[in-house]
Symmetry: D3
Subunit: 241 residues, 6 copies
């Protein structure tokens, strides 16, 4: 059976800026990656389109297309929940949809938002409903298609202003080998062009930090590219490294 | 070149109760393990010997013998600093001795105490001097034998009353395969017999927790034995799991 | 007037595993104990029954019977809210039901879940609604039967993986005298047999910790049995001890 | 055997402003109270005397007299370590003196400073050496007069700017019955007159807070006087209240 | 364009006890102050009126009158949302009403409750919805009158039992010049007379703390009156002071 | 009297990378800036010089010259304590030297390191001794030249890996107007060339963050340059902004 990375995000931009490296890396190993995108970021993440005079349907269609394109570049599948952003609100449909997705794809790794973000309430919302659905998908008493899931580890990706969000990097993932994929995916997000430089710099900064924290065995060079993640559950392993 | 685990402890008991599994596991993989023991635990950890009427030299000799025996059972080398416990105090000799040991063994993994312990001041002391020496051993300007070291990851082992010490398990290490080694090493510590049951139960409890947190890939059974550790630096990796 | 301990739990198992000692101890002093059980744990805590092929009504009836039996063994009254678990959701009925229960029993002590639990969302839900109802029951402007309540202290009982839940034991309660009651109550929970050993060990471990932290006056022996609790409000007392 | 409260402070003022109520309350119950005062507060707490032109010996003598007088009013014994304040520094003599005092008085309760205070470095120093000496006094292998001590609970008293010191009141002690003793002791501290009103108000404020947090059983009135404390170790008890 | 302070509170009393000084100070500089009051505090803050036998409408009318009077004394405008307190609950109307208010008044400073308060659930509710509405009001895609807003700094005012609410004063605001206004506003709140002395003392205590933390430049005297606030976002400035 | 910024650093590089903007900004306002440099960074910060074969005196002389040059570019005075780095150790001379410097320059603002840094023990050492000396310099009973000092605010500058050091930006200082000075000062530090790009990027990133957090009044543009600081004491102010 194939390993599967499940990425649950509030808006389309999130999986690109914050986790495109992790996604492309998993795909490059022959694994499956599935993105569950709760909204199109139509209200909160599309200011440049509104300023152009687009209406709601046009904004959503544009963002959907971008997101599908970016997912394709990364080699991932994508599902849209169209649950309305700014604010995202819990509905029985969204919760059940997420449970069903967990049951269907049986993820071995889960990526989602960090638990706090005072700049964007949709991000902690997505975190909490993603974790809630994961626990519910584990219980035989909860309805849904397929088998109950196990306990896949959960990694939170880096918010835009990490220190204000209580984000501390627990894991630095070397994404040097797939950096070109991430750059290509970022360039698709025309609505948020001002972030290209920002996230290119961030990849280099987290990479340098990875180099400085990599032990003698891994020994990463200073021009490494990396993404940072925070773990929600203890790491379980057979070797300390 | 061989991977080397360096274990720096305040007293002899510590490496057995808290890290014997990690040591035996590394050795079972053909790696080298070196224990640096700052004292013999002669004042703080040998109440039963004092109550028998032993004098200081007898206490130290007894604890030294036990420690050497336990290290041998685990397949590890051991060095004694004889720096006097209860309280351990920083001296230039101890600090330089630790720097020299880092330079000599070039560790790929470091294990030591957690940063706080309101029940035993020697434990946080050992933590802080172990980390201080590690940073100093990295600098070309600091004297010492051999080459400067890299940046080996540091894992803190579990204190006796973890919640009072701010200890949160970041890593659960599956030590099932070497559990017999740990049990044998524990039985050598005659001065602290009351702890055998305690740490046997702890191995099972952390093992059950490892099972419950192990994702679909690892899928550990409920009778796993484990040790818990806290990371001092972010994990650097090429794969999320 | 009799002292009354009010125990508010998400599921039936919770009051047994986490607070049976505290309940039996209060009863053994001639006090009243009332358990408010928000659900039957039918979806989240009854995997073994679902695996046997029971339907929802059968699962609920079985868990209700077990819970009533366990309460009886402990000498406590029990009320069921049947509010559906996994997930428990706030409804006006549940909230008002809890306010009414506070007003009716006029508790002198309140026990409930801790505020966080990443393994079971019903637990923090129960914590928050239990505390919300307590504050509302204090206000003359809020409707409900009987008199407004005072400010009973609140104790949170220990979650299954305490370190992951931010649980730090503030209070260690010596339950040695009623340990037999707790053991008997645990044995009733046939659906969760795997937890008997776990919570027996936990009682001994918290007991040993109680012994090590008990001052010269209390002087508890090492074979004490104890339960751990976290306070939500400062202790008010006439004597430091 | 009599219960004994041991109070370890950096300067003479501390035991009056922060713990006079707790001391007088213990004494009023027929218990023994012993104050160990590490310095005379000659440099850090005697600005008004220096401004009068006193020399070092005069300052120390004046503060000693005040402190002895205040202790007498409270019914407590007092020992002076004369270890020089601003800054207090660890010496083998001070540490051994504290160990000896623990062994001699065999305290059932210990009061000292809180672990942090960015306005006065002597306070955290006194906290740390007081706790260090307590642990050392417990070990048979550490020399000193009399028997090893047990594990008396430790309460930290309230610093002057509590929020900046991470001080959160765990315990509110009703000192209404001995408030007159505390007021009388405060009036003796002529060198710090500006603090009389401050600590009178604080007694009332903590008293009101005690009233608001006292459950139906204790039911304290709004004009209660109280002192706040922070626990360093879990409370061990036979009854939740 | 005029600077505008927007104050969003759960109940009428809150803006008086906790922020009257900040409001009067802004007004004294010729700025505009607008208070958005989510409820009349009819259930949670009006115990003395209920005890007099008032019905709901009478309680609300009385509190409304008091609040309008107090706002007038401070020179502020006031809007009532009448959203029902104890408990305040999120409704689309309340959320949209707050977004509209942000868009209309274009605040340069926002004041609201702190994020936690275990004694009054309406306070954290008001905090969270006030911050949620602020973020939504910034997005071009969210409907509402007028222009999107910028990023006004947010200051949380002091809760009644600050240490239990995780409140740490980040900012001490010198309100000496408008203290008479605050005192006058407090005297209007007849339903909560017991709080007059409490908040008068608090003003003096925070003032003394301001004096002790004011650098050589500001050099505040000891009889300063102050209010404490906690920042939600980093301060942005052109000068360190 | 002139305002004076006092900058206390462990090594020469620190005041350039972390605070050159704040220094140049103060000087640009006609204020005085004095740098107290505890060591030459000869062991910990000069790896490239050791690798060239320099001896200790040569390393120190080179770093001293660089530091003096950089200070001059920024318009600041500089004092060297030559207290030996890696590790910096508290001596009576260093402590008294710092007290004397505080008394002499009577700072209105103090800049120093943050309290924690697991990558460089000299940084927290410098933090703690800088704050200790500040408190001692305030006391009339402590000897030293000149008058006692007041209570200047303390700002901690940003460490290299901020999240690992518990660093959260409380203050973002707009240094756009003096960015050229900072760039010029950075270029002088030949021994640490690899950091030029890093700190140039950091200035832009903190600047963008300043822009996003600046309210409508300040309204900073996206190409702002900024430095981040953490406050050690509450801000005291006469206006919220």
């Amino acid at each position: 059976m194939t390993d599967t990375t499940l990425v649950l995000t509030a808006h389309p931009g999130d999986f690109v800026w914050r986790a495109a490296g992790a996604i492309a890396l998993a795909v490059s190993r022959g694994q499956r990656a599935v993105i569950g995108c709760m909204s199109f970021g139509e209200r909160g993440e599309s200011a440049s389109l509104w300023r152009k005079g687009y209406n709601l349907e046009q904004v959503k269609a544009t963002r959907r297309e971008e997101a599908a394109h970016a997912a394709k570049v990364l080699g991932a599948e994508i599902r849209f929940f169209d649950a309305n952003d700014y604010p995202l609100v819990e509905t029985p449909e969204l919760l059940q949809g997420l449970i069903d997705l967990y049951r269907e794809v049986q993820p071995t790794v889960v990526l989602t938002h960090a638990p706090a973000d005072p700049y964007n309430g949709d991000h902690p919302f997505a975190h909490h409903i993603a974790l809630k659905a994961r626990v519910l998908a584990q219980a035989p008493g909860v309805e849904g298609p397929g088998e109950v899931i196990g306990a896949p580890p959960v990694f939170c990706f880096e918010p835009h202003q990490p220190e204000q969000c209580g984000f501390v990097p627990d894991v630095l993932l070397d994404i040097t080998d797939v950096w070109d994929r991430k750059r290509e995916a970022m360039q698709i997000l025309a609505a948020q062009k001002h972030l290209h430089t920002y996230y290119t710099d961030l990849g280099a900064r987290r990479g340098l930090q990875a180099a400085r924290n990599s032990g003698p065995n891994l020994g990463l060079p200073n021009d490494t590219k990396a993404e940072a993640f925070m773990r929600m559950y203890p790491q379980v392993t057979r070797e300390l490294s």
